[in-house]
């Protein structure tokens, strides 16, 4: 679901957040309008508002785990974890985590990739959210959900700053709700 449809209709913070995101055409390849959140991170108010919206949503939901997807999920996830008093758990590309891991493969447009989670980071029964900067196909987030569920956690929701309009209609990923702040923009209106 989009934040606007779920209690934040007309919230001026959402427009400011949307406009602070830079659109970089044809990155990483032709035809892709890349949603660059680095400009949001340069705007202290926009960045703080982004974190505050997630913290306000999750603080009373008894979430004990915030899992962030490498690397842009780290940028938002650790602050949200601190804000709600939860552990921060990085979900990483292969061979980055030094201890024993479980891994989950997922499909890319061409080929596959893999996400890893440290064994013991999450306990059975813990309530978790998964965070990333953007959701498109949902492949990476789905791998994150599967990893946490294999460790026995209950994934309560996935949270993303940006979500493609398609997720409006299908607002669940592997049966888990998706909470998104803004849609991608096609044209650069700032920076």
């Amino acid at each position: 679901m989009f934040a606007e449809e779920n209690g934040l209709k007309g919230d001026p913070r959402l427009q400011h957040i949307s406009q602070s995101i830079r659109v970089v055409p044809h990155f990483p390849k032709n035809g892709i309008m890349f949603q660059d959140i680095t400009t949001l991170l340069l705007d202290h108010k926009a960045f703080k508002d982004t974190v505050d919206i997630f913290v306000d949503r999750y603080r009373d939901m008894h979430i004990s785990v915030v899992a962030g997807i490498e690397a842009r999920g780290f940028v938002f996830g650790s602050s949200v974890a601190l804000g709600i008093g939860a552990k921060f758990v990085p979900l990483r590309k292969p061979r980055k985590l030094p201890g024993e891991v479980i891994f989950e493969k997922y499909s890319l447009e061409y080929g596959t990739d893999c996400l890893e989670l440290h064994v013991g980071a999450v306990q059975p029964g813990e309530r978790a959210i998964v965070i990333d900067d953007l959701v498109a196909t949902g492949g990476t987030l789905s791998a994150g959900i599967r990893l946490l569920e294999r460790a026995g956690a209950e994934v309560v929701e996935c949270a993303c700053v940006i979500g493609v309009p398609e997720v409006k209609g299908r607002c669940k990923l592997l049966g888990k709700p998706l909470y998104v702040l803004v849609e991608p923009r096609q044209v650069d209106q700032c920076f």
Partner: protein
């Protein structure tokens, strides 16, 4: 360093230190890897870590917190948010989508590069560089150079852990280093 003199050591330091897990022989034999992921699982120790940096920097007119990919992305943003600064990611090649400047640095075998977006920082801004750990200092040195090339004043480097045997602090071009705990390199 926050814990140099044990009689003055901030009481939060001991818990932070014990929350860090040592993984022997990662990524290769002989290396005692300092795993901060266990620190992130200890909500009080993680909060204390951030608080120690925020307390140090909040009144120093810092407008930029630059964090080195990827573990610097975990510690840097909460510090930036708390002190009212922007967060600037320093990334491996080809990750940043816009126009970048880059700085090469030496590895044990070969070289690597870090990149920063053009326009992310302005001349005269006061900056911190953050990473989870300083070993040889190569990455931090490259980050300092990138920021200085565009006219930024790097006030200090801040890391959770230092491996003093590797003398990384001598590679920082005279910049000061603030750390919370010391570890053994190898």
């Amino acid at each position: 360093m926050a814990s140099k003199d044990s009689k003055d050591q901030d009481p939060r330091i001991a818990k932070i230190s014990s929350a860090i897990r040592i993984i022997p022989d990662f990524p290769k034999p002989g290396i005692m890897f300092q795993d901060i992921t266990t620190l992130l699982l200890d909500t009080k120790a993680f909060k204390d870590t951030i608080d120690l940096f925020v307390e140090r920097y909040r009144d120093q007119n810092i407008s930029v917190v630059a964090g080195v990919e990827a573990r610097g992305f975990i510690f840097g943003p909460p510090i930036a948010l708390a002190i009212g600064a922007k967060f600037v990611p320093m990334r491996k090649p080809k990750k940043l989508p816009g126009e970048v400047i880059s700085e090469e640095y030496s590895l044990e075998y070969g070289t690597d590069k870090i990149e920063m977006h053009v326009g992310a920082v302005q001349p005269g801004e006061r900056a911190l560089v953050i990473d989870d750990l300083i070993a040889t200092g190569g990455t931090l040195c490259a980050a300092i150079k990138l920021l200085e090339r565009v006219g930024v004043n790097v006030v200090e480097c801040a890391c959770v852990i230092e491996l003093p045997e590797l003398k990384g602090r001598e590679k920082l071009g005279g910049k000061s280093l603030f750390i919370l705990v010391e570890g053994e390199g190898a």
